[in-house]
Structure formats: structure tokens, C-alpha cells
């Protein structure tokens, strides 16, 4: 399976600022996904990032708040913009290992605290 790293692993940010989270994969993958895990909650899909095209956002998530870049087949970034305390969550990227069966592998996550 692919090895996935995320930077930063954690951060504490001030309200109103923005944070960019990086996701790096050790092999080329077509589909990458970004999830949010709010404290004590399950995972919610933010968007799907396909190289060479605009990210596809899920209901409740907008590009202005969570812009995503996917410049190549091994890298993606998620920016959390104009942060508020409600954005405090773990943000995880994942990659699709098996297109037919939706098998995904996850990075270690970025724990974000907004004060």
C-alpha cells in the first residue's frame, strides 16, 4: 500500500488566519480525498481531488473555505481559510488504492486547534 505523509502533524492557529495542510504520497495515485474528523466524531468527506481537474466538494463544504490543490499525482494541499474555533478538527488525506472497490489508505492526519 502507498505510504502517505502529512504536514504539519498538528498546529494551533488564531481565529481568522489560514493553514495549508500538505499530503505527500510515495507513489502516483489518481484520486486523493480530504476528510474532516471533528472531536469525538466520525469522518466526513470534504472533497475529492483528481489531478488536473478542479476538486469536487461535498455538500456543506465550499472552495472558498477549503481550497484544494492537486498539482501532480503524488501531492495535494488543503487550505483551511479564515479559521474559527469550529474548524478545530483532525484533517486526513487518503488515496484510492483500488478504483473498483473504493479501497482507501489514510495519512496520519493533521490535528488543528483554532483559538
Amino acid at each position: 500500500s502507498a505510504v502517505i505523509s502529512q504536514k504539519p502533524s498538528r498546529d494551533i492557529c488564531q481565529r481568522g488566519t489560514s493553514l495549508t495542510i500538505q499530503c505527500q504520497v510515495d507513489s502516483q495515485v489518481t484520486m486523493m480525498f480530504w476528510y474532516r474528523q471533528q472531536p469525538g466524531q466520525s469522518l466526513t468527506l470534504i472533497a475529492t481531488a483528481n489531478q488536473g481537474s478542479e476538486a469536487t466538494y461535498e455538500s456543506g463544504f465550499v472552495i472558498d473555505k477549503f481550497p484544494i490543490s492537486r498539482p501532480n499525482l503524488t501531492f495535494s494541499t488543503l487550505t483551511v481559510s479564515n479559521m474559527s474555533p469550529e474548524d478545530s478538527s483532525i484533517y486526513l488525506c487518503s488515496v484510492e488504492e483500488n478504483r473498483v472497490y473504493n479501497e482507501q489508505f489514510f495519512g496520519p492526519g493533521t490535528r488543528l486547534t483554532v483559538l
Binding site: 502517505i4 466520525s42 469522518l43 484510492e96 473504493n102 479501497e103 489514510f106 490535528r111
Partner: protein, 113 residues
């Protein structure tokens, strides 16, 4: 739309005891089913998966799961729990062509010495 229910929010077992975590899904077609584990401060690790064929699937760390179509269930089992198994466990269903995973709410496992 698919959905996943994990009815047990929190389970406590003694080390060495057997474990069963419940997962029920709702999906109109043949489901692709997964169990993930999340240790504190970590990402998600894939424990096992079911796509087709044998309904009893084996995973890592001694875990297994059984797919029961008649009950729409995919319960996770382990015959003897180790203290290192304490973590949160998530069941997920894949949606095929939509290429998305839908996760259950998770079950927190505590292991007593």
C-alpha cells in the same frame, strides 16, 4: 444513499476476552465493506475488507469479520483481545462508481488489564 450504523459507542473488555464489534449497513447494491482502526493521535489503518466471495474475511492483528447479507451486517471479531487493541474502530461502506466511503460513527474499545 448508503449508510453505516455502529450501535455500540463504547465497549469495554478484559484482556484475553473475545470481542465483537457490530456494524450494520444500508446499501442497494453489493457493498464493499471495510473496518479501520484509529489509535490515539493516529490516522486510520485498514484492518480488513470484503469485496466478494468468502463471507468470512481475515485481517491484520488477528481480526476477522463476517459479511451477512441477510442481516446487512459486517461484524468485527477477535478471539482474544490484547491491551494494544484499545482504539477506535470504524466500519465503512464503499459506493462503487461514486468512489466514496461512508463511515459509521465509530466504536471506542477499552481493554482492561
Amino acid at each position: 444513499a448508503q449508510s453505516v450504523t455502529q450501535p455500540d459507542i463504547h465497549i469495554t473488555v478484559s484482556e484475553g476476552a473475545s470481542l465483537e464489534l457490530r456494524c450494520n449497513y444500508s446499501y442497494g447494491a453489493t457493498p464493499y465493506l471495510f473496518w479501520y482502526v484509529q489509535s490515539p493521535g493516529q490516522g486510520l489503518q485498514l484492518l480488513l475488507k470484503y469485496f466478494s466471495g468468502d463471507t468470512l474475511v481475515q485481517g491484520i492483528k488477528g481480526f476477522e469479520a463476517e459479511f451477512k447479507r441477510s442481516q446487512s451486517s459486517f461484524n468485527l471479531r477477535k478471539p482474544s483481545v490484547h491491551w494494544s487493541d484499545a482504539a477506535e474502530y470504524f466500519c465503512a461502506v464503499g459506493s462503487g462508481s461514486a468512489r466514496q466511503l461512508t463511515f459509521g460513527s465509530g466504536t471506542q474499545l477499552t481493554v482492561l488489564p
